[in-house]
């Protein structure tokens, strides 16, 4: 491999499987443009029949939460178990919900 990689932008790849309803994040790759990114994603992420539809998004278009904000962002949810729907009595016919 030579060092051309640096010049190629990064893309995030989302794949929808045959049974799946939504596209799921599969990984990332380098490609010069969106058209090539879809083609590369086909070869890198769907070669074992993983999917029937591909989305690619420029990685730089993604805004991520700051890891340093973890405490205030996600900490408060830890003791609010009443938000889980686990306090209902289910009829016996509805198993394993």
């Amino acid at each position: 491999m030579n060092d051309t990689t640096a010049a190629w932008p990064l893309w995030e790849v989302f794949i929808r499987s045959k049974q799946g309803l939504e596209h799921k994040h599969a990984g990332s790759l380098h490609a010069v443009d969106a058209k090539q990114a879809v083609q590369m994603a086909r070869d890198v992420y769907t070669r074992r029949m993983e999917g029937v539809s591909i989305w690619v998004v420029p990685s730089e278009a993604i805004t991520a939460s700051d890891p340093d904000d973890k405490a205030e962002m996600f900490g408060p949810m830890e003791d609010k178990i009443y938000r889980h729907p686990s306090f209902y009595k289910l009829p016996r016919e509805v198993e394993h919900m």
Binding site: M1, N2, T4, T5, W8, L29, H30, A31, V32, K35, Q36, Q39, M40, D43, V44, R47
Partner: protein, 263 residues
Amino acid sequence: MSAHLSYLLRLGDSSLVLGQRLAEWCGHGPQLEEDIAMANIGLDLIGQARMLLQHAAALEGAGRDEDRLAFFRSDREFRNFTLCELPNSGLEKGHMQSGDYAFTIIRNLLYTAYQCQLWEALQSSTDTQLAAIAAKSLKESRYHLRHAADWTVRFGDGTALSHQKAQRALDALMPYTNELFAPDAVEDALCAQGIGVASFSLYASWTSAIEAILQEATLKMPANQGPSTGFISEGKHGLHSEHLGFVLAEMQSLARQHPGATW
């Protein structure tokens, strides 16, 4: 050797030898993603070769299987088109030189465009096994063509250097395409039986398909005399360039050192 067997070897060996050439890029591609893409294409071709050689071996009925045909025949017994055996480095350099990606891409463009036309026509072959192989391979070849066409446009309409390399590859390779379309006794016999396709009948549509891609790539169609009056290489008759021996030496050495080995 029957014409039918010779015809199957022609197609099977071409896929095998080109698949082996593309496999040489594995781990040496210009980019990780592209390395995987090219290896996938090489494996598709080797898959086509397997089906065609299995069919050939069954037809021959001499107790050989596809591995026997692939790994224990010498270069004069191979029936692949010369185009498929040319080194990845191009024609000016020796076989030990590193590959020229433009040369690989343009060769794939020329050959996979041919395969698309051929598989399309062979789907109605009276040899139902061959028709089934053609139908399966067509989908693969259409993707291979798309991949090659995409890179051809990027190279041709890219930088001055990439354009120059693509044009040089095109000029060097075009004369070797004549062999794909030149009629011969094997093909004539197979056409008469409804098994084969008169490949010359594909020449006009192949040419216009290539021209359309070259135009988008701002590349010039080389002045080539074509299969009627131009140079015709003889790989499909077993008369190869000096390059095939090196391909086979590498491809066959393991199987010949460990005959019958499985893993």
